[in-house]
Symmetry: C2
């Protein structure tokens, strides 16, 4: 499904929520959400069509690719902000397809260490390469200087958010 | 939970996924995802703490607030990109709390029209006001000219994405 089709069919356009008198920060936030959702929806669709792969599965493999020494199930859950149940389900499937191994740790019987197999690493690299092309394609709608400016502004925002200590 | 705590505990920082040699577009995309996730996670937490309200529930009420004439269940699902099941569950709960009404349509017995009650409208307005303050607070970490630039760049990106007709 094209980005345009998604926008038309689903009102994924969060900006349509903004009504007159709304604060400019709210408009900015809804626009951020819209852009992120559009790109994510498109990547999700391409990942499904091209590799029959979900985004959580891709993200889990990406975490394992970054940690050749392996990750504990609990660490993967924390990194992916999903429930332990989801991580277990995805990992079960990946083990079945021989893309990851799951070994009990000698010093902690309740903990399991998960690693990509060589086949899993190869499969991930192939998907990651395509994924990068898709992202370049989608963000390439902005000229290079625009992308650089956007990167800097979002860097300032990210740092500002990290410095914040909300009272809540 | 503060934004900082979220970043520390969960590696919500998608940029940590970027490894050397990655395309600049990928870095930009991961930074966008990081900023969006940080803000969304914070808003979700404040919504829960302050109003015991989930984001999907708030979004559903926001859609109804924009459509005083009412929305069909199917329309709400499409607008929220969630399954019909979720919309049904949230609507059931809102009906129970007398914040929305759900009436069968005369010309289509299988379709239901959902509307905010006056109490529902008041409850939503109260939450929306707070929500706007939170967003202003979180995005206020950027100076005004930065927010304006960001708004423009994301507008260009959004237009570029909408013009795109990917072959996939």
């Amino acid at each position: 499904m094209s980005v345009e089709a998604v926008m038309k069919e689903t009102s994924l356009d969060h900006e349509s929520r903004a009504i007159e008198g709304d604060h400019d920060a709210l408009r900015l936030w809804l626009r951020m959400l819209t852009c992120t959702s559009l790109i994510e929806t498109e990547i999700r669709a391409r990942m499904r069509t091209t590799f029959r792969c979900t985004l959580p599965r891709f993200d889990l493999m990406a975490q394992l690719a970054r940690h050749p020494e392996g990750l504990k199930m609990g660490e993967i859950s924390r990194r992916l902000m999903v429930t332990g149940g989801n991580v277990t389900g995805i990992t079960d499937q990946l083990v079945k397809e021989a893309l990851v191994t799951r070994e009990a740790l000698a010093n902690d019987r309740r903990a399991y260490l998960v690693k990509l197999t060589p086949a899993g690493r190869k499969a991930f690299q192939c998907m990651a390469q395509e994924h990068e092309q898709w992202v370049a394609d989608l963000l390439g709608t902005l000229p290079e200087h625009g992308r650089r400016e956007l990167h800097e502004l979002l860097g300032d925002l990210k740092n500002g958010l990290a410095r914040k200590h909300p009272e809540h």
